[in-house]
Amino acid sequence: MPAPRVLRPYKYGFRDPENVVFQTEPGLSRSVVEQISWVKSEPDWMREFRLKSLEIFESKPMPSWGADLSGLDFRKIIYYASPTDKKVRDWKEVPEAIRKTYDRLGVPAAEREFLAGVEAQYDSEVVYGSLKKEWESQGVIFCDTDTAVQKYPDIVRRYFSTVVPPHDNKLAALNSAVWSGGSFVYVPAGVSLDMPVQAYFRINRKSLGQFERTLIIAEEGSSIHYVEGCTAPIYREASLHAAVVEVIAKKGARVRYTTVQNWSPNVYNLVTKRAHAFQDATVEWVDGNLGSKKTMKYPSVFMFGPGARGDILSLAVAGKGQHQDAGAKAIHLAPHTSSTITSKSISFGGGRTTYRGMVKVVKGAHHVKSNVRCDALILDSESRSDTVPVMTIGDPNISIAHEATVSRVNENQLFYLQSRGLKESEATALIVNGFMDPITKQLPLEYAVEMNRLIEMEMEGSVG
């Protein structure tokens, strides 16, 4: 097998002229946080929340486990920049340079085909948003979080940071201090959104961090499928993506949150995603991690009421220089709840994947069922894979099962395909795509297609 490529060409590695209107100086301080709040004309309660979070961030140590974050310098990062000061509703009105960016990323095509509404974030501001009229008439709110703070303060104040409080972890505290953009989705009781709602994120400015804060509230009996995918161009300085996603699924509600992350290989992707599922509610996380230099992300579902359900599908692909430290957490706080976690990871070209998961059952949470399946594929001898599943069970009346396998590409399967005329890289790509199938088949079509193509690209570079 020839040596893997030194630098995998990043398909989305292009830049835009940096036409930013306002940005803070590099580094983090009280005055930076106050400037951010001032630029957004925020009410006092939000400004105070940010400042308190900054104190918490400064008092907390970095995590001592997980991916190696020693290359991250918080003093060099620019925490806020806005590209335009106007919000637009139609594609035609979006500024040319930004439109070109999304054009190359294929957003207009997606808009035509599958999606009813697209929220696009560019450099910390949500620039474009559009919502189908029928949703608006049903009382659905879909806007960026900044707007929500101004227009719907009561709802925001009621739920913001109730799922991920600032003291939860250092990166959540950072996000709480400097968050900007992100989506706010409120679905009234009984309303079902049958089309995926989508958002794109992108880091463009050198050393710019992305700190979007998303809050999704699904009232009783409602359902929604939210989809996001993001890319970023290559820069030499480290870029940081420290987002927080909070999901509240009330009684009988159903929320599915799909992410496909393909950040360029210099980005530190440290995200806290958590959902509270109440009685008979279901939350599904579909989490695809393809890019970034280091990812630490463990979508979780906290089940608070009987009948609640959490399903987490996690996909991690790590190439040279990458470490995907991903997984899931299923926390059973009520009886008669169930969870499934399925994780597929692939490491090649010296990449490293780690599955880190937790299934926790507290005393009193009887009749809980949980099933975890994590499989890892290591393609070559330079790569590595770890699995750390934690099961903490405090009630005996439960049934928990876990299974993990680690293997390489099956030689017989490879031979079979090659003997039918496929090149080794094509055969490997086919097998790897098959390995990931349980997860890719849960993705919206264009993501599944993009995912398969990306894998083909990776395999071409590393095999044959």
Binding site: I378, D386, P389, I393, P396, I398, H402
Partner: protein, 180 residues
């Protein structure tokens, strides 16, 4: 090489399994928690040579208010081509106040290997209990039978001393001799 580990008290044990002369290892561990005991087992299986095999079976029985902690690490270093390893950990929780913390982990630095693990935590199947009690067997004895059945498949691997140790613990726990 065969290694058996039996923890029935309040022991904290750390064990490493390495392959010096032997290329194959079978490890059988039984951890029984009683009363308010908090036994803990930290098992590290290290594969750093080529073509070694290991098969690890762990059975955990949590009674009363015990709190049991088991960590089983399958560690495959770079260069350990041809490694085959599998760990199975099963925990039976009989005590209403019992707690089990189970972390079977894998650290794999080599791709020409076969590695896996499986774990389960649960309580006695109600159907099994019903079957026994409907035949006139009292609940305590029925539970003991299920506990014995749970450990039965690994019993033959243990030394006579360990087998007796376990029987004694079960006698105490269910405070009666087993039905014959």
């Amino acid at each position: 090489m065969k290694k058996t580990i039996v923890l029935v008290g309040n022991e904290q044990r750390e064990e490493t399994v390495e392959f010096r002369r032997d290329g194959r290892a079978k490890v059988v561990a039984v951890v029984i928690g009683r009363g308010t005991a908090t036994p803990s087992l930290n098992l590290h299986v290290l594969h750093d040579r080529q073509d070694t095999e290991s098969d690890i079976v762990i059975r955990v029985l949590a009674l009363d208010q015990s709190r049991i902690n088991v960590r089983g690490l399958l560690d495959i270093r770079k260069g350990a081509k041809g490694t085959r390893t599998y760990l199975k950990a099963d925990a039976l929780m009989l005590g209403e106040e019992s707690k089990v913390d189970l972390v079977p982990s894998l650290e794999i630095d080599e791709n020409e290997v076969q590695a896996g693990h499986g774990a389960s935590v649960g309580r006695v199947d109600d159907e099994q209990l019903f079957y026994l009690t409907s035949r006139g067997i009292d609940r305590k004895s029925a539970e003991r039978m299920v506990a014995e059945g749970f450990l039965k498949s690994v019993f033959p691997e243990l030394t006579r001393r360990d087998q007796n140790k376990i029987r004694k613990v079960l006698d105490h726990a269910f405070d009666r001799a087993p039905l014959r």
